[in-house]
């Protein structure tokens, strides 16, 4: 499942997409993110899945544009910490 967390508003699309088929629930993204955006737990969107999965924490979903802003300088952008930390390549940002 491609789980898109975030929103679209007048100024653009601000989604973090997690491919739950790739995610192994290792939690590397949880420790990599400086703003504690990620959590690992039971998949609330798939009541039949047994393995834990990474999600964007409830309290961050409506303000990702702001929460992630410090990780997204306009120039000399290095890889985003969460994307770089994810070995199965399950995480991507829409902006």
């Amino acid at each position: 499942m491609i789980a898109n967390y975030g929103y679209k508003n007048g100024s653009g699309d601000f989604f973090i997409a997690i491919d739950t088929d790739k995610c192994d629930g290792c939690g590397d993204c949880v420790s990599a993110c400086p703003n504690n955006v990620f959590v690992v737990g039971e998949d609330p969107n798939d009541p039949l899945r047994d393995e834990p999965v990474a999600m964007v924490g409830e309290e961050h979903r409506k303000k990702l544009k702001y929460t992630c802003a410090p990780c997204k300088p306009d120039r000399d952008r290095s890889a985003l910490a969460c994307v770089a930390a994810c070995k199965p390549l399950a995480i991507s940002h829409s902006w």
């Binding site: 508003n9 007048g10 100024s11 409506k62 303000k63 544009k65 702001y66 929460t67 802003a69 410090p70 997204k72 300088p73 306009d74 120039r75």
Partner: protein, 257 residues
């Protein structure tokens, strides 16, 4: 020489008349439906304040969201450029200027000469600008001018969950029903805008001095929220809503000479 800077914003139009770096006159008029008429009127006011006639003005420059519809000139400067130029003129030590108007908020990092190094902005979403405060003042049933002073009486920080201005209005109503003190709600509203603006500031990076301009800089509660959020002092220049127009007037003078 005398130059005029005209800032056509979403809610108000501002004009500054300048001679050799000195402000001769200012004018502010609500933008209304017909911005061309409002723009003409603000120039008239500034001229009257300066005791001048329009023939004396040698250079014009427009800025603001409506800068393309200025009846006097095609010359224009972006809001970002005008903010940096304007603030440099009144506060040379400024390295980051935060401009929060009715419909947009922006953070600009600039150097000692008023040159833009980096910028970021919130636009097209009411949550990151003055309109948000206006909606919440309406929900609180107080005039916008009272929101800031009221918030200064707050005794605690109440969280606001809604990000969208429409949803936040319902949240404010719920808070009122729950008997949350109105001053605490007022502070929550201003803190919410400040936190969104501050994330933009953090994105461009900042060092002191930091200045706040635009209409929201007139709101003492918002200034406090910004100071709290940035954990540093924030300078508010005199007439903060005219800094963009001042920057445009400076740019007009540079262009003509």
């Amino acid at each position: 020489m005398i130059s005029a800077g005209i800032d056509i914003g979403a809610k108000t139009v501002k004009t500054v008349l300048l001679e050799d770096g000195k402000i001769l006159g200012k004018g502010l008029v609500p933008a209304g439906l017909d911005t061309v008429a409002s723009t003409k009127q603000t120039l008239k006011r500034a001229l009257a304040a300066a005791g001048l006639t329009v023939e004396k003005v040698e250079g014009f420059m427009a800025t603001g969201t409506g800068r393309k519809s200025c009846p006097f000139t095609d010359a224009e400067i972006t809001e970002v450029g005008a903010a940096a130029k304007g603030i440099n003129h009144v506060l040379e030590s400024c390295r980051a200027v935060i401009d929060v108007g009715a419909e947009e908020g922006r953070a600009v990092r600039c150097d000692a000469k008023g040159k833009v190094i980096d910028f970021a902005f919130n636009e097209k979403c009411a949550a990151g600008a003055g309109t948000f405060a206006e909606g919440m003042a309406r929900a609180l049933e107080i005039p916008l001018e009272e929101l800031g002073p009221l918030s200064l009486k707050a005794r605690q920080a109440v969280p606001m969950n809604a990000q969208c201005a429409v949803f936040a209005e319902s949240e404010v109503v719920t808070l009122i029903h729950n008997k949350t003190p109105r001053e605490d709600i007022a502070r929550a509203v201003l803190d919410a805008i400040a936190s969104r603006i501050i994330s933009m500031v953090r994105k461009v990076g900042f060092e002191k001095d930091v200045a706040l301009i635009g209409g929201m800089a007139l709101n003492p509660g918002f200034v406090e929220s910004m100071k709290r959020g940035l954990e540093m002092d924030v300078h508010v220049p005199e007439d903060p809503e005219y800094i963009g127009a001042l920057g445009a007037a400076l740019a007009a003078a540079e262009q003509t000479t």
